[in-house]
Structure formats: structure tokens, C-alpha cells
């Protein structure tokens, strides 16, 4: 299996040469592909504090270790397809890969995808906060394991 860095580079590559409209369409494809929560996570959502408070719309993220491998599970309100698509991309990059590799998620993903210009600076802050949160929580998990 490829590393987080390699998978991320591939994902970034998918966006790189697209025009603004195509980038948004691909982002929406990712958003549409984010699996709904399973009954187990749906039940946990009600009792665990997994809401990302930096985000403008309801976003819930679970950052977990599955035998030393990363498992990122997320739910994003349908009115925020940008955030939903971005969470789907992060999950695609890290899931099933060693926890310590999550640190390789670079902070400039949005710039490298060319999404920063398509979205404008104010919109990207919440997304950058998600990257920071995911990296921080996986790092804490790695220490605990």
C-alpha cells in the first residue's frame, strides 16, 4: 500500500490541472462519496463530543487507531459540500495507513490543489483547522498506542 504522502500526492495531482469549475466538480464528487455513518458511529455521535467547533457547519470527526493504522471517520452536514469533500479526501489519504504517517499531511494541501484560490481565504480557515486537528489527534493517539 502506498504511504500517506504518496496517496496525498496522487490526490493533489487529480486536482492540479483542472480549471476552477472542474476542481469544484471533483470536490463535489468526493463529497458525494463520503460514506454515511454506520449505526455504531451514529449512536456514538449522540454521546461523544466529536463536533469540530472551528467549523461553521456541523462536522463530526472520529480519529482512531485500528491496530496501529489510521481510521478517520467523518460526518458533515449536507449544506457544506466543500467541507464534506475535503474530509473525504483526508480520509482517503490516511485510512488504513500507519498512524505515524499522518504527520506527513502537509499544511499546504489546499494551495497545492489550487483550491485556496477557488474558495477564497476566509473559507479555507475552517479547512486548515480540520487538517491541524486531524494531525494533532492522530499524533496524540500514536503516543498513547
Amino acid at each position: 500500500m502506498s504511504s500517506v504522502r504518496e496517496r496525498l500526492d496522487e490526490l493533489i495531482g487529480e486536482f492540479a490541472d483542472l480549471d476552477a469549475r472542474e476542481k469544484l466538480e471533483l470536490l463535489v464528487d468526493f463529497a458525494n462519496g463520503l460514506a454515511p455513518l454506520t449505526a455504531d458511529y451514529e449512536a456514538r455521535k449522540a454521546i461523544e463530543d466529536r463536533r469540530i467547533h472551528e467549523c461553521q457547519t456541523p462536522v463530526f470527526l472520529w480519529v482512531e487507531s485500528d491496530g496501529g493504522l489510521a481510521r478517520l471517520v467523518g460526518e458533515v452536514a449536507p449544506e457544506a459540500p466543500t467541507v464534506k469533500g475535503f474530509v473525504a479526501i483526508l480520509a482517503e489519504a490516511v485510512n488504513g495507513r500507519p498512524l505515524q504517517q499522518v504527520a506527513d499531511l502537509s499544511d499546504d494541501i489546499l494551495d497545492r490543489m489550487g483550491l485556496a484560490d477557488v474558495l477564497g481565504i476566509l473559507r479555507t480557515r475552517g479547512l486548515r483547522a480540520i487538517v491541524a486537528r486531524v494531525k494533532r489527534e492522530f499524533a496524540a493517539l500514536e503516543k498513547a498506542v
Binding site: E25, L27, P81, D117
Partner: protein, 298 residues
């Protein structure tokens, strides 16, 4: 029963559905999350994005007149087009785009009452097809200063004790928060409000389905309870000018206030500006904060 003073600026989802192929009408979507438009928009609607299309990249200002003309021309909007705005978030950004169009003197602007939410609730069709129209020719006017307030004018207005409306959440108004609940802090270094401003959070204008409250309900709020006067100059602000565009729209068109300006610099400018007074707490007056009176004369 009182009616809206300028009911013609508001159209229903039904009206829009009947005018989808009317060449004299252009439907424009403006969203907080612009991927919503990509995902599905009203058939034939074009997108105008508040951040990418309406803001100038190098000056903190709107695009200039020439850029606005180009923006309209590219979307097949000419001077006599009826432009109908709608969007997510109870039409905040739709009202913002409407306001920018008025800033450049576009004659026939309307809002689709209820925005995306009402269109969805009505079970109407969404399309994800790309939309393009033959280029039109557009001539904009110079910016209309009568609907836009800049900082110095707000300061004079505030000192004169004229009608000021802060449409943010009560937590932001009191200075406990510097951003909307659940939104990231976008960088104001002081929390509070402009002294003298009344706090009328924008949701008080809207129903749960995204439509505007009735004329009677709006009159009850602004005229009867808050004792605001239709003829007195009024300035509305929020954090970056989008929620206050909605209140500007309500006061100007639904209630018929004669002189309302949107302060688009809003709290992101005022909360960072040197030597402007601010007030903290629930009272408009500002007497509760030493800084609110001292800074001006320091």
C-alpha cells in the same frame, strides 16, 4: 394588514420556476459554500461568488466598475436584465450580491424569497449542468455612496447618536465572542459593538423556511418595539457585511426606510481600528466600557 413597501423586489420560487427560460431574466446564485452551486442549482442559474467574484484581490474593496461590467457581461446580464438572486443561509449572500449590484446602479434586482431552502422544501428541480450565456454588453454607474458607509462616516454617525443596527448574535454584540457561534475567528482584536448600536440579530427577519417575516411582524419589531424611524439615517453592520446586507434589504425594501447604508467594513474593520470607541455588554450606550469613551480623546 400592512404590506411590504416595495413588494416587487421579492419573488417566490413559483415565479422563478415560471421564468426559467425568460430571456429578460437572469437567475443568480450566491452561496456561503460555493460547492452547493456546483452540486445543484436552479436550472439556468449562473453563480456569482461573494469572495472570488465580488472582492478585489489587491485592495480591500469591491471589484471596480470595469470589473463589474465584465462580470455582468460574461454572465449574459445587460443593463435591462431582471436579476433574481438566491442562495443558502437564508439569502445572506444573495442580499449581499443584490447590494453590490445596487452599488453599481443595476435597476431591476430581486430576491427569491426563501432561497435554496424554500426551493428544496418545495421539491423543485436542481441541475448540475454547466450554464453559459452569450456575452452581453453592460455599462455600470459609479458606486452609489448612498447605500454604503465607510468608517469615517460611521464614526460621525455614531457620534451624532443616529440609528445604528448591529445584526450579529447577542454574544458577538456583548463582546463575548468575536465571531459567529461555530465560525472561526476571522481576526478582530476587540470584541463588543459600536456604541449606541441596537442589537437586532438577523434571524429576527426570517422564518424557519428561509422566507422573510411578514410586514406586520417586521413593523412590530423595528418600528413599534425599537422605535426606529423610517426617515432617520440608519447604518447596519455585522462582521463582514453579509448579514447586514440582509437587514439593509429588509429595512429598505420591505419596510420602506428612506436612508439605510450597509457598513461592509463591519466589525472586522471596527474591532481592529485604532482609536475608535467600542462598547461591551448588553447595553447600547457604551458607558460600561472605559475604552469606549477614552480612546477617541487619548
Amino acid at each position: 394588514m400592512p404590506a411590504y413597501v416595495h413588494p416587487d423586489v421579492l419573488v417566490s420560487t413559483e415565479w422563478v420556476a415560471e421564468h426559467l427560460s425568460d430571456p429578460s431574466v437572469r437567475i443568480v446564485e450566491s452561496d456561503e459554500d460555493r460547492a452547493l452551486y456546483t452540486q445543484g442549482h436552479i436550472p439556468g442559474a449562473v453563480e456569482i461568488d461573494w469572495a472570488v467574484d465580488l472582492q478585489c484581490a489587491v485592495v480591500r474593496d469591491y471589484i471596480d466598475r470595469a470589473a463589474f461590467e465584465k462580470l455582468c457581461a460574461e454572465r449574459g446580464i445587460s443593463n435591462d436584465t431582471t436579476v433574481v438572486f438566491y442562495g443558502d443561509k437564508n439569502n445572506w449572500w444573495a442580499c449581499y450580491a443584490f447590494w453590490v449590484f445596487k452599488l453599481y446602479g443595476h435597476k431591476d434586482c430581486r430576491i427569491m424569497n426563501g432561497g435554496r431552502k424554500r426551493w428544496q422544501l418545495d421539491g423543485r428541480e436542481w441541475s448540475n449542468e454547466r450554464v453559459s450565456y452569450p456575452a452581453a454588453s453592460y455599462t455600470a454607474q459609479e458606486q452609489d455612496g448612498s447605500i454604503r458607509a465607510l468608517r469615517d462616516e460611521v464614526l460621525k454617525h455614531q457620534k451624532a447618536g443616529k440609528q445604528l443596527l448591529d445584526v450579529r448574535s447577542p454574544e458577538e454584540y456583548r463582546g463575548e465572542r468575536m465571531h459567529m457561534p461555530d465560525y472561526p475567528n476571522e481576526g478582530a482584536v476587540r470584541g463588543g459593538h459600536i456604541p449606541g448600536a441596537l442589537n437586532v440579530p438577523w434571524p429576527m427577519n426570517c422564518n424557519d423556511d428561509g422566507t422573510f417575516k411578514t410586514a406586520k411582524e417586521l413593523e412590530q419589531l423595528y418600528i413599534k418595539e425599537l422605535k426606529m424611524k423610517r426617515r432617520s439615517p440608519t447604518i447596519a453592520y455585522c462582521r463582514i457585511g453579509e448579514r447586514s446586507s440582509l437587514t439593509w434589504f429588509v429595512l429598505t425594501y420591505l419596510l420602506g426606510f428612506g436612508n439605510v447604508k450597509n457598513y461592509d467594513g463591519s466589525w472586522l474593520e471596527w474591532g481592529n481600528a485604532v482609536r475608535v470607541p467600542i462598547a461591551k455588554g448588553a447595553e447600547p450606550g457604551g458607558g460600561s466600557s472605559a475604552s469606549s469613551t477614552a480612546t477617541l480623546h487619548a
